[in-house]
């Protein structure tokens, strides 16, 4: 065993060069003898070989080895430590949980489990709605690249242009990922969320507010900088709240100009308006250029309520839940067809009189 693969050999070699202090483990050398100390015990006046015997099998040593002697990016290290609650749980507490396999974190709609197997960490990844599913019932994956396919369509087979929409498909399982492959799989499901979360923890997240993001646009999107004020409230209400996107909105209208729409409770931040928002903003910019008109429309109170219910059913994504022949639901298809037959002409235009005809 060498210091590359053996925690004890690595510890003895490392402390010969400098003292170690990590997660409750302290090892130091003085006058040729070593002191080994954890929150559980202290052993002094050790020779190098006695240090090796003392350190053998100690979870503090394994923990030090795992987190300091492997190369990871800053974000990967911070995230994987967060997964096992390393900042708030002591080493014995953590190792006891890791060994019995009950360490759990949720990341968007993902459920991550961590275990220690043969001295190395192994991670399980599945949809949080599948938390109680029998693993044998879930489709099993090994290659983290497969996460890309999982993230492409929802459970109804529809394409998901926004990766952080709360529509991740269910029914799959990565039973045993390494730390690096866990991070890779998550990056295909929720790209850049780990890096942005880590930057935010360090107080270094680069947020771009609406004004700057809109200003940057060119070509067909250059027009979106016309949106402001209330329109940005409506835009974020439409696209950015938790029911639509799991990122927590950190951008606002401009410096010192907050958008009142709830920012969301997501684990990972949203640092600037995304391409879906910019693309939608273009459509709203075009619509907002129109002047309003006053229309006189004849509707019964129930018909007005029905129009409201139809908008709500689309906006809340409830269409698929409305049952055939459920005539008590104003957004029922036959009810909508009756309204159309009665109040709309053959082209689908609502009969209405404008105060500014043509």
């Amino acid at each position: 065993m060498d210091r590359e693969s053996d925690p004890v050999a690595a510890l003895v070699a490392a402390v010969a060069e400098r003292s170690i202090s990590y997660d409750g483990l302290s090892v130091s050398k003085s006058d040729g003898l070593y002191t080994f100390e954890t929150t559980e015990r202290q052993v002094t006046d050790l020779t190098a070989s006695a240090l090796g015997e003392t350190a053998a099998g100690d979870p503090f040593v394994d923990n030090w080895f795992h987190w300091t002697q492997r190369s990871r990016s800053t974000a990967e290290q911070a995230f994987l430590r967060w997964v096992e609650h390393a900042e708030e749980r002591s080493v014995p507490e953590r190792y006891s949980a890791l060994t019995s396999g009950v360490v759990v974190r949720e990341w968007g709609q993902l459920r991550i489990t961590a275990t220690v197997v043969d001295g190395g960490r192994r991670y399980g990844l599945r949809h949080s709605d599948d938390r109680d599913a029998d693993p044998a019932e879930l489709e099993r994956f090994v290659d983290p690249l497969k996460a890309r396919e999982i993230a492409t369509t929802d459970d109804k087979g529809r394409y998901r242009p926004l990766k952080t929409a709360p529509t991740l498909s269910t029914g799959w399982l990565f039973p045993e990922l390494t730390g690096a492959s866990l991070v890779e799989a998550i990056d295909f499901i929720y790209p850049a969320t780990i890096q942005n979360w880590a930057l935010e923890r360090e107080g270094e997240l680069d947020v771009t507010n609406w004004a700057d993001a809109a200003d940057r646009q060119s070509g067909i999107y250059a027009m979106v900088d016309e949106l402001s004020g209330e329109q940005l409230e409506w835009l974020t209400e439409a696209c950015c709240v938790d029911s639509q996107c799991l990122k927590r909105r950190e951008w606002d209208a401009a410096d010192g100009e907050e958008i009142d729409t709830p920012h969301g409770a997501g684990a990972f931040p949203c640092r600037e308006p995304c391409s879906v928002v910019i693309s939608a903003a273009r459509k709203w910019t075009q619509i907002e250029r129109e002047d309003t008109e006053r229309y006189t429309v004849e509707l019964t109170p129930s018909e007005k309520a029905q129009l409201e219910a139809l908008v709500a059913a689309v906006a809340d994504g409830r269409i698929d839940e409305i049952r055939e022949a459920e005539f008590s639901d104003p957004a029922n298809r036959q009810r909508a067809r009756y309204l159309r037959a009665k109040r709309f002409d053959a082209e689908g235009t609502l009969s209405a009189e404008s105060d500014r005809p043509n």
Binding site: R72, A75, Y159, T164, G219
Partner: protein, 296 residues
């Protein structure tokens, strides 16, 4: 503890909010390059999908990043959108010293991460793209010797958006005419003359292979062009191969970007920009049907 990987490859593409097939070729070529072990990190980034151009550099975390655009021609995306979104400091299109089809690479610091970005010209204008077009013709005819007696049309969008688009099509058509033995080779367009609508009339050969120079299949390649040529059936994307139009047998290949050999063009771009990937290029060519030149 923090360690950065030394070199990464980032393939930047348009992507789509509506059509998942738009990014499929980018992902499959990236996978080919991953399997060839050319770079420690390979990542895709998109204008319309995630990760965005804005956030991809922080994902790969490398000190040197080769960025190869999955675009057909130099223009708005390669000259404005990509450099701006990657935050390439002091980007100047003049650094490419391009005549419209000759962009090679230029080196910048990305303000986002401080990474050194070797920003390459688009795949569509690289010389090796010529071979991919021919490979596409071989694939669709299932004939490794296709050429003699057969016409080849290289089809592009045309000048509607950008004059370089037509230049790229003509460039490859000229090169194929010189280096291969097709009976006739023509550049054709959707919105300018010679129009793809007239393919059957403009070729004398009884068999014509039609290869659209597009990075991915979508509305243009699956509906527009087949319909313009008179090939389209009722279902979008369904057309006979080969199909008969006015007595000419048309072998329509769909987007050239789906041809596996395109992974080689991506690597050639990175190699031209200084990446040490010769061995990987060899592996990719073997796997995708390209011609390998024996290394010394």
């Amino acid at each position: 503890m923090s360690q950065q990987t030394d070199e990464a490859l980032v393939i930047v593409a348009h992507g789509s909010h509506l059509n998942p097939d738009s990014s499929t070729p980018t992902f499959s070529h990236a996978d080919t390059i991953r399997e060839a072990d050319a770079f420690e990190t390979v990542r895709e980034a998109f204008w319309k999908e995630e990760p965005s151009f804005r956030e991809v550099l922080r994902i790969v975390g490398a000190e040197t990043v080769y960025v190869v655009p999955m675009f057909i021609s130099e223009g708005y995306f390669t000259e404005q959108v990509i450099p701006r979104e990657l935050r390439l400091q002091d980007w100047d299109v003049a650094d490419w010293e391009s005549d419209g089809t000759s962009a090679d690479h230029a080196t910048y610091t990305a303000a986002d991460t401080g990474a050194t970005v070797r920003y390459c010209g688009p795949v569509g204008t690289h010389d090796s793209m010529t071979d991919v077009i021919v490979q596409r013709a071989r694939s669709i005819t299932d004939n490794p010797d296709v050429g003699p007696g057969v016409g080849l049309a290289v089809v592009g969008h045309g000048t509607e958006r950008n004059e370089n688009s037509a230049k790229a099509i003509e460039y490859h058509a000229d090169r194929i005419r010189e280096a291969y033995d097709f009976a006739e080779v023509k550049a054709m367009f959707m919105d300018e003359s010679p129009e793809v609508d007239d393919v059957a009339a403009l070729f004398e050969s009884d068999d014509v292979v039609v290869v659209p120079l597009f990075v991915a299949d979508g509305y243009h390649t699956q509906e527009d062009i087949p319909a313009d040529m008179g090939l389209a059936l009722d279902e979008p994307g369904s057309y006979p191969v080969p199909g008969m139009v006015d007595g000419t047998k048309i072998w329509y290949s769909g987007a050239v970007g789906t041809e596996p050999l395109l992974a080689d063009v991506i690597l050639e771009r990175a190699a031209d920009a200084g990446a040490d990937v010769d061995a990987a290029i060899d592996r990719v060519k073997r796997r995708t049907g390209g011609t390998t030149i024996d290394a010394e």
